[in-house]
Amino acid sequence: MADSFGRKRLVVGAHYGLRDWLSQRMTALVLASYSVVLLISALLVPEPGYYGWSGLFAQTWMKVYTILALIAFVYHAWVGVRDIWMDYIDSVGLRLALQVGTIVWLLGCSIWAIDVIWRV
């Protein structure tokens, strides 16, 4: 957007922060529903122990739901952690470094988690 930087940038108007606010709620609903489904499924497995637990994640619907929740988690954590840096870190350089570090941390962990879930 041409108006989003420089001396004449647009600093008033509608929708500032609406996207973050709304995405934080939508990703939260995905994560909350996943948590409840996971808890109930884990309690209801026919065979407690390793085979029941890994068998749960061997099913395609669970893999899909888990990875969807993971994507929702990454976006949710990004918005939340970025807000923490914006609130407490005033130095622009340090803030940028922390934000880039946050993205690397979240994406790195997600790739690892997908690798783990692909084993069963």
Partner: protein, 136 residues
């Protein structure tokens, strides 16, 4: 011009970390800052959580390695912390969604809603802690 510029305008900044203990937050504020603390905690311990998931799912051998690890008190305490962080973040999140629906926003209702969710968070956490230590 000079008269105006000599007058110091009051500044309202974020409280400093040294003021935290003396700062009296309303209970909704306590719920809110704990929501942030619990979220940050889960963000920072993410690799440990994935490692635990890895051990639990990769093989029967790694599963038993995890069971062995959970015998250690320090591991139990870690799980207690994560359980609290998750449960608190969950309850605090639902409080936000309730507020988003314009419920519990008045001066009278807000602390009541916050108290309710704090009580729910602590009750569920207590159940989780007792389960982790094998009491129930």
């Amino acid at each position: 011009m000079s008269e105006v510029s000599h007058k110091r305008r009051p500044e309202f900044r974020n409280i400093h970390i040294s003021q935290i203990l003396g700062y009296r937050l309303p209970i909704a504020g306590i719920m809110s800052i704990l929501h942030r603390v619990s979220g940050a905690g889960m963000f920072l311990t993410l690799p440990i959580l994935i490692y635990v998931f890895d051990l639990s799912i990769t093989s029967e051998l790694s599963y038993f390695r995890l069971i062995e690890l959970t015998e250690l008190t320090v591991v139990k305490l870690f799980f207690c912390g994560i359980a609290w962080a998750f449960i608190h973040h969950f309850m605090g999140g639902i409080r936000h969604l309730v507020n988003d629906l314009h419920m519990g926003l008045t001066k009278e209702a807000s602390p009541l809603v916050a108290q309710g969710f704090l009580a729910a968070s602590l009750t569920c956490s207590a159940v989780a802690w007792l389960t982790i230590f094998g009491v129930i």
